[in-house]
Symmetry: C2
Subunit: 330 residues, 2 copies
């Protein structure tokens, strides 16, 4: 693991790579009471050429610094942290799986460690990074998941922190995730507002591929209006789709009403989550106000989700050359 | 400190009172990533008769259990935890200050300790309680505080967790608190909605005492609509005021517009925060959209805030007999 301590008076200390070990925290550490904490999710991939690569790490660093500023935690030099991540992965390189189905998950984390109960910016913090090999995210593989869309629960709000990767955005979701599982669903589809705009799915961005009411094929994802996490995968898929130029690509509000109508009229082609863990996660059906909306059929070949998956993993595993893939030896 | 471990398979373990010590947490403990954490704030008071008392502890236990259920953390037997708190304070009784200006702060805390990164309910948790003697909460004493009311930042929303004492409600507020201090204010007044309803002040409930537009004296506090923490002090002051029967007591929405108009027309008598830390905290002025709204004048005698303070502390320090004060020897 990598550890870097911060104090208000001395700034960031020397980074240290050391064996994974328990953290010792004073019971009054602010992270344990006031959620003074943030994280990122990244991966290292062993390519077909045995080279180990990160995927667009600077985007994670930029988001981590924005989140730090909003979380009353210290900001840092993102390029230096990428250099440290490369070194850490290099030290642990035998933990990067020798297969294209798996990767090494990288979890940069920052916590406020000052041991005082005042509800104010901490004077002490710890940035640490842990690693773990991971297989495909969903146990069911590329099988479409079912979502619970319950408008009684709201993940984020204008004037809130929905666009930040703060721990605070996740704690309140665990109980709703449990309710989804109790109802036979795998994930929560988060809605917003009286018109039930769709915002995110579980901890992923959501994308809808449909034939719109002008008869055009359109890939829709909600805009970065402060309610949505600016996902690295989201940005990558939008960039790819725009470069292909084969269908409309729009960041705009989309409601459950529009999704349901498109489904009823046979115009809903696909829906999928987009995130680092799974790249894309096809949505099979949505449980919404007592109804079940059918979305992606199982075993669909030549799907957009599959094409995105193949393109992104092609870059990640060194089969397609791209600036997005960054060797840990670079 | 008091520690009680929980596992999904074995339930709650045996409680242990032990010297204060650092906690050892795996770096993947869910509390450090997903804010799986909650707390309560209570106090022990040394009465004029040298008896040590808690204040309405069962209300804290009920709220802590409601918060635990919403936080995907285990619930517990509140009466048993009160018995343990009494024992803990008894062991540390010489830390309960021998003065009516101070008390022993009690911080029950619960954290999800399971060392895995899945965004799901933790299978392991720790309930711990730490203690600290505290003086009057605000360095300026009973001097009115100035508030920053900035509608760009929203603390809680319908469908969210504003009524829960989860860490997640506090992390996002630290940066806004810092901005308030930079602008010369001591606390944040949280607004909600296009009409700028007032909701809470810092980590306290807010109360407004005014002459309403029917010419009646009225004590107003926002209703428990899910945006507001159900404070023990809030409930106590409402109960006292209703028992006095000297003025209207209402739980209703109140907007910045109504507060500003009452101030301009000389009908705004007092505003104050209500919470465990300070009992009441008079508001001197509110900085709102470039204007300064004057509220409570300094050195006001016979104020409602002072009367509430004297009544509540009279109960807490054993000068007034009340069921609300619970001896640790009972």
């Amino acid at each position: 693991m990598l550890k870097i301590y911060y104090t208000k008076d001395s700034g960031w200390g020397a980074p240290r790579i050391m064996p994974l070990q328990d953290l010792r925290l004073h019971p009054a550490a602010k992270v344990l009471h006031y959620s003074v904490e943030l994280f990122e999710g990244m991966k290292a991939f062993r390519g077909v050429d045995d080279e180990i690569r990160l995927f667009r790490p600077n985007m994670n660093m930029a988001r981590m610094n924005r989140t730090a500023a909003r979380s009353a935690l210290p900001t840092f030099n993102g390029e230096e942290l990428v250099a440290l991540l490369k070194k850490l992965v290099s030290v642990d390189q035998e933990w990067v799986p020798h297969t294209e189905s798996s990767s090494l998950y990288i979890r940069p984390t920052m916590i406020g460690t000052e041991p005082t109960l005042g509800v104010v910016r901490p004077a002490e913090a710890l940035l640490f990074v842990i690693l773990s090999p991971v297989g495909p995210y969903f146990a069911s593989g590329f099988k479409p998941v079912s979502l619970l869309a319950d408008p009684r629960y709201v993940r984020a709000w204008p004037g809130g922190v929905g666009m930040m990767k703060m721990g605070s955005n996740y704690g309140p979701t665990l109980e709703i995730q449990r309710q989804a599982e109790q109802q036979g669903c795998q994930q929560v589809l988060w809605l917003f507002g009286p018109e039930h705009r769709i915002t995110e799915v579980g901890a992923m961005n959501i994308m809808v591929f449909l034939v719109n009411d002008q008869g055009e094929k359109e890939l829709v994802t909600p805009p970065l209006d402060g309610l949505i996490l600016p996902g690295v995968t989201r940005d990558s898929l939008l960039t790819l789709a725009r470069s292909w130029g084969e269908f409309r690509v729009t960041e705009r509000d989309i409601t459950m009403g529009e999704v349901e109508q498109a489904s009823e009229e046979g115009r809903l082609i696909e829906m999928f989550g987009a995130g680092t863990a799974a790249v894309v996660t096809p949505v099979g059906e949505i449980h919404y106000q007592g109804r079940v909306i059918r979305v992606t059929k199982e075993g669909q070949k030549e799907s957009l989700a599959q094409r995105f998956y193949n393109t992104i993993t092609g870059i990640q595993y060194g089969k397609v050359k791209s600036d997005w893939a960054v060797s840990i030896d670079s």
